[in-house]
């Protein structure tokens, strides 16, 4: 096993930055009170989707029960009221990312749609031979849209390799930037390895080369404070359901001057200024990019999730999770035959691993019987699996409600796996 020394600071329980009471937080999440196969649920799959606090569920329910209406087009009270609330979530998202203006926030279904939006509205302006750079550790959501763009316009797709410890190879990246590089699309945090990429430097170098940068922030916004202006990101995308919000809502941040120039992606109601058969004109951003009835109530839920996270404090969450990561790394490393993938110094609370001679799918089935929910498979990152020559891994990913007890339960369950496979 590689050394875990670098993981030991801060150690478990060291929540010196405004620590919060995890048990009280857990009480906010009804699902964590559930049992599975007669065992208490040990939820370690927040990287796939996080559980939701009551505050989020109640906010959505309250809207449907007391003031539901379609937005943007109503002269009556409920419609105006809900339009104001829907639009105010834009301000919350802008705050979450430290965007300059809420007009830079486009609501989407998820981060996948946000990336596809950029691949169409911005990407279609690229020409054959232009280059888009991604990395070996991207989620399919940040690979396939660019492959589809390649099919449409003939761009070249270049792939930054990653180091054996799972860190981003800045040297290789820098040498790939060139005069034809138009866009760099890189994850801020790997959903498999946990690696936090040196995004500020990635962006600085891209801008020096005259390229724009799209950041896949799906895993990053949930683990730490993001500041798009400090990063100088051009596009930043994330998904609500991993941030303790509901399904069916995500957001794209884009610099105002970029959004202004981008043609619409989907056409329909709400995204137009005026429609006639002869000539249709489009609304200003962000509405230009939001066709049809939006995820109204889901936006309200996302707003409540952001409030919830802010209430605890992102710094406190980061500190708590750093403690969990250190503990999990230490405990899992001590399991014989267990290999951890991803040992980057900057790392979020995600641990991928395999057990010698036991397929991850079998691990998943067996620990499930102990109430442990972990993800096993390729994690929508097949090229990364190939990079590490594994068909799949098991992955424990932690959220603000996890405890060192959860890790202990996982480790005990893994011992049972080994026992069974003798």
């Amino acid at each position: 096993m590689a050394s875990v020394e670098t993981m030991r600071t801060p150690t478990a329980g060291d929540n010196s930055v405004q620590a919060f009471d995890v048990e009280r937080v857990r009480a906010d999440f009804p699902v964590l009170q559930q049992s599975v196969h007669g065992k208490p649920l040990t939820y370690l799959d927040s990287g796939a989707s996080a559980q939701k606090p009551k505050a989020v569920l109640e906010a959505m329910d309250e809207v449907y029960r007391t003031c539901y209406a379609n937005v943007h087009r109503g002269a009556y009270y409920f419609s105006q009221h809900l339009t104001d609330r829907y639009e105010s979530v834009r301000t919350k998202v802008a705050g979450l990312l430290n965007a300059a203006s809420d007009q830079e926030i486009v609501f989407t279904r998820n981060v996948t749609e946000a990336i596809n939006l950029v691949a169409h509205s911005f990407g279609n302006s690229l020409s054959a031979g232009d280059e888009v750079i991604i990395s070996e550790m991207e989620h399919h959501a940040n690979i396939v849209p660019w492959q589809l763009l390649r099919d449409r316009v003939g761009i070249n797709l270049k792939v930054v390799p990653i180091a054996d410890d799972g860190s981003f190879r800045l040297d290789a990246y820098e040498s790939m930037l060139g005069p034809r590089t138009r866009l760099v699309a890189i994850t801020h945090t790997s959903n498999v390895l946990g690696t936090v990429t040196p995004m500020k430097e990635i962006i600085r170098l891209a801008h020096k080369a005259g390229a724009l940068v799209l950041v896949d922030g799906a895993q990053a916004v949930v683990h730490s404070k993001v500041d798009v202006r400090d990063l100088d990101a051009d596009f930043y995308a994330f998904t609500g359901h991993k941030l303790y919000g509901p399904t069916a809502i995500g957001a794209l941040y884009a610099k105002a001057e970029l959004l202004k120039e981008m043609p619409p992606f989907l056409g329909g109601g709400d995204m137009i200024r005026s429609v006639s058969f002869a000539e249709t004109t489009y609304a200003d951003p962000p509405h230009r990019f939001e066709a049809g009835t939006p995820p109204i109530v889901e936006a309200i839920g996302l707003g409540a999730a952001i409030d919830y996270v802010n209430g605890i404090g992102m710094e406190a969450i980061s500190a708590h999770e750093a403690g969990l990561l250190a503990y999990a790394t230490e405990r899992l490393s001590a399991v014989e035959g267990l290999t951890i993938y991803g040992r980057a110094k900057e790392k979020a609370a995600i641990v991928s691993f395999t057990l010698d001679g036991i397929h991850p799918h079998d691990i998943g089935t067996i620990v499930d019987r102990e109430g442990v929910a972990i993800r096993v498979g390729h994690h929508c990152a097949q090229p990364l699996m190939e990079r590490f020559c594994v068909p799949a891994t098991a992955r424990a990913s932690m959220g603000l409600y996890n405890t060192t007890d959860d890790i202990d339960v996982l480790v005990r369950a893994l011992e049972k796996v080994k026992e069974l496979f003798g």
Binding site: H37, G357, H359, H361, V376, G377, P391, K416, L420
Partner: protein, 156 residues
């Protein structure tokens, strides 16, 4: 350790999983197909040697996967030899029922299949694990694809 799991991972299965039989690329294979389970990335390639009478003279596989899919592929290669295409397909029907129908017993199967099913019965533990049925049937789907002359089967 819970009974359902003990049932799923019986000794025989673990043994086949670790030491799969007929894990090779047979000479003279005249039919083959790849089986792919997109959920877990598992894949097996099934090779069949069909003789001029249309009987399966040899069957083998290559691939990587979970204990269930490996054991199932391994055991399949043991029971298919000597069967005609029709017999192989019928056996898969019965095997599929074995893996999915609660209360399915051998006397509900075709008489000719009973002997093979008796050996395959160790795999019926997947009934309690619906998501693993795809693992248990992956090799079989690939075998059918090979007979159909298709190059690929997926368990979507």
């Amino acid at each position: 350790m819970d009974d359902l799991l003990r049932d799923l991972y019986q000794e025989v299965i673990l043994d086949h999983g670790k030491h799969p039989r007929n894990l090779r690329h047979p000479e003279g294979a005249n039919r083959q197909a790849r089986g792919y389970n997109p959920l877990c990335g598992d894949q097996v390639t099934i090779y069949l040697v069909e003789d001029e009478d249309g009987r399966i003279a040899d069957v083998a596989f290559e691939g990587k996967g979970c204990a269930i899919s490996m054991a199932s592929a391994s055991m399949m290669t043991e029971v298919l030899r000597g069967k005609t295409e029709a017999e192989a397909r019928r056996l898969f029907d019965d095997f599929h029922r074995l893996c999915t129908e609660d209360g399915f017993t051998l006397d509900q199967a075709y008489a000719e299949d009973r002997e093979a099913l008796e050996r395959l019965q160790v795999l019926s533990g997947v009934r309690a694990f619906p998501v693993r049925v795809k693992c248990a049937t992956l090799a079989w789907h690939a075998m059918t694809a090979a007979l159909d002359g298709e190059g690929q089967a997926t368990t979507e």
